[in-house]
Amino acid sequence: MAEIAYREALNQALFEEMSRDPRVFLMGEEVARYDGAYKVSKGLLDKFGSARVVDAPISELGFGGLGVGAAMVGLRPVIEMMTWNFAILAMDQIVNSAAKLRHMSGGQLRCPIVFRGPNGAGGRLSSQHSQALEANYAHFPGLKVIAPGTPADAKGLLKSAIRDDNPVIFMEGELLYGVKGEVPDGEHVVPIGKADIKREGSDVTIVTWSRMLTAVVLPAAELLAQEGINVEVLDLRTIKPMDEEAIAASVKKTNRAVIVEEGWGYAGFGAHVADFISRQCFDDLDAPVGRVTGLDVNMAYAENLERLILPSAARVVEAVHQVLYR
């Protein structure tokens, strides 16, 4: 087991999948000669050539749609969006084409495509470059949404996403690329739709995903342990389809739940998780479901304001106290 950075784990997944399947190609802004804006595609151009690692013009709608078209006729494109903020320009093709092709064609077509790129705050980037947008995509039938929080999950899930026959939204953490973690050697595939218990506990279930796991939730769990509170940390890893079984099993054990997400609370994905727990695990609950989210405001540039807007370990500790009535 080697310790590598999140970006290297993604690079390995791309390298391995492109090596085993000539139908896989990578297209996006700066992915080829520049090695990727976040260096995820480092070295791929030299290995696979310019038709398989393609520098696209800054035309998210155009190359997003081009990828969808290629997927309709037997290729397996990986479309890199420099950030999910920019992918908003491609949303028409993702939502109106990719997500609906199987359906509109009555099962004649499939659309095996991965849209991937960084999601969430990048640090001092103000409001247009700091959005966590997974809830938007989770809303649309026909899309799968993945948001891994560790290098091992990033690698294993990207490989699964590339092999999946549906359009997959693959959201990386802009502040996770340099984070290191152990990744199993050899073939490592993580199934889509399976959550993972990142810390076992008995008092409160914390449901989270992506960067919040290592940045906020696990540090909060350490603080709570010092008070004698054992939280169970359930990392969803896949937003859609959501692992309902794993959530229910954990809540059954702890009887309390807090959901932690970087994005806005209003109609955020955590609201869906809370809805599920409240209705499906009602008899198991000893307290209303708690939530920690980004504040419902636009992201500020100022350091102190940005810190206030994003969830923190302190806010998680507070929310856990609340569901424990402490």
């Binding site: 696979f48 038709a51 199987r102 359906h103 064609s105 099962g107 004649q108 077509l109 499939r110 026909g142």
Partner: protein, 378 residues
Amino acid sequence: MASTELMLTMYRKMLLSRRFEEKAGQAYGLKKIQGFCHLYIGQEAVVVGVNEALRPTDWVMTGYRDHVHPLVRGADAGMLMAELYGRDSGYSKGKGGSMHFFDIEHGFYGGYGIVGGQIPLAAGLGFASKYRGEDRVTVCSFGDAASNQGAMHETFNMAAKWKLPVLYIVENNRYGMGTDIARVSAVPQISKRAGAWDMRGEAIDGMDALTVYEKAKELVDWIRAGNGPVLLEANTYRFRGHSMSDAATYRTKDEVELEKQKDPILKLRKVLLDKRAATEAQLDAIDDEEKAHVEKAVAFADAAPLPPDEDVWTHTTVEEGEPDVHPRERVLGATDVKWPSFPSDFKVAWDLEPRTPQTPAAKTERGQGGATNKKGAA
């Protein structure tokens, strides 16, 4: 030049298209078809002229005025009508309806309801062909109003730069819904805009099937030879409103009457008669046959069952191991369906962006050139 046989084929296919759309309009009036329904009546020369210039293995896609594009490629008229009726026997099991026809067996990759949405998709089809080294051409139709979508600019830039094998046809019927294209376009002659991407662009009379055929043939050959995409503007006219709910009051009666005199079906009929390639009786017989063809399609749709309720859960996502649906096989039990299959093991030979290393020789040459100029100036 088109042979007599080909002209008769085109005549027949234009009549099939016309009669199919007339019946669709009638069925709409009877509420057998609902929702949005955009008829192609008046524009038949474009779709038929282009189609006859294609190989069966070529691909076609268009916007939501999409009933006749698969029809002239050989789709089953009854199953298309059943799709309009929202029945299980339709090509998409009643899930797509008027705006989303798909017939992959015949290379028809869809009708799209977002204006211009098919333009980037077609570039993707072309990209895949080039990626695998196929000599296939993709034809992508869109309306005049789609030319003002950003998707067109973004796509043409890439298609031209990467020389993708796509024939883009703007079916210019002069109105984007109720708005005269000239009222909202700085450059209403859309083919002229091709110059912005250093792309070949041409405009033709889209009411003349023979003109369309000849030009399409020339352009398809040119594209197949690897020269890159083309923007062909076919100037045409729809005799009906934008959709079934449009009374088209934004056009004068005189204008519509004038355009109806250029009816593409009557035009080809006159050519056939003038050339003594067919008699009035023969041509009337073709019309009768296509009327009967469409009557049969309507009867098929009328008798077709609704999709079962449990079908609401299918085809939103592909489950593991789930096969693709082959409509003619599923509905008619056809055994001659040739479904396209794509290789999973091949070598990508295409060098999309060849590196042109700065060779020392090239550098020297420029250096010397500079020196020479200096000398000359001195």
